[in-house]
């Protein structure tokens, strides 16, 4: 087995984020400031297009995964 760190492409990350977004119930919207409100399908579309909103969603998800890695939720 290789000792190299696992690398993952941006496209693969977007696929993972889209998979997470698909878990959302359809009746919800996300408000992102002056950019407006987005349904689940609109968010998925933005992530796939990799535009500003899509990049923001990816950034939020990666930030969360980093916090899990750092075991932040085990803090009091």
């Amino acid at each position: 087995m290789s000792d190299r760190p696992l690398s993952i492409s941006d496209a693969e990350i977007r696929k993972l984020v889209v998979a997470r977004l698909r878990s959302f119930p359809s009746g919800r919207k996300m408000s992102i400031g002056a950019d407006g409100e987005f349904t689940k399908d609109e968010l998925i579309d933005r992530v796939e297009k990799d535009d500003r909103i899509g990049k923001k969603i990816v950034q939020i998800q990666l930030s969360y995964l980093q916090s899990l890695k750092n075991e932040r939720f085990l803090e009091g």
Binding site: F24, G27, R28, S31, I32, G33, A34, Q61
Partner: protein
Amino acid sequence: MFITRPNHDTTTTYLFYWSQHIIDTAKTHKLSVIDVKGKRVILKEVTGIINKTKPSFICFNGHGNEKTVGGYDNEPLIQKGVNESLLSESVVFARACRSAKELGPSCVKKGTKAYIGYTDDFVFFTGEAKESRPLTDTVAKLFLEPSNYVAIALVKGHSAGVANERSKALFKKNIKTLMTSDTPKEDRELIPYLLWDMDHQVCLGNDKAVI
């Protein structure tokens, strides 16, 4: 206390309604409240009232960016390099995207005692069927109740630093509740967004400042 509540789109309408809890708490604690709402949230009106009343606490609800906090139809109210001195000697809570990144530090340099806000986008989820009754929206409540608590703690007499920390503690409480095994999977997907708001909420300036 001076508070702005524009309501020109769904996001600001949610903030409009949820801010009523802040106003009610302030009145309970015998604070005088200047509530500027709807189409009145424009630069001329806001400037005139702040100059005349010199409020010790200013609470903005609206859209923003790194250099601006906006009012009705996103009319700029406070802009970096333009009129930060309007907020001097006040404690400020800006529930607006990204304004704590550049505008907040600039305000503190120009005399704002403490500036609590967000260094990146403030995001929240809503239940689609609840848009006509925002206060019954239990999904939005997970986000807006903790952020409300910044202002509520301030009007209860806590310092800016304590208000920020207690608000963050409420975000964390909601996150932990959603992490329990009896929470539906679709609700657990809200956690990254709550964490985002919590992590980007900051208190700049004198964290011991009170109103």
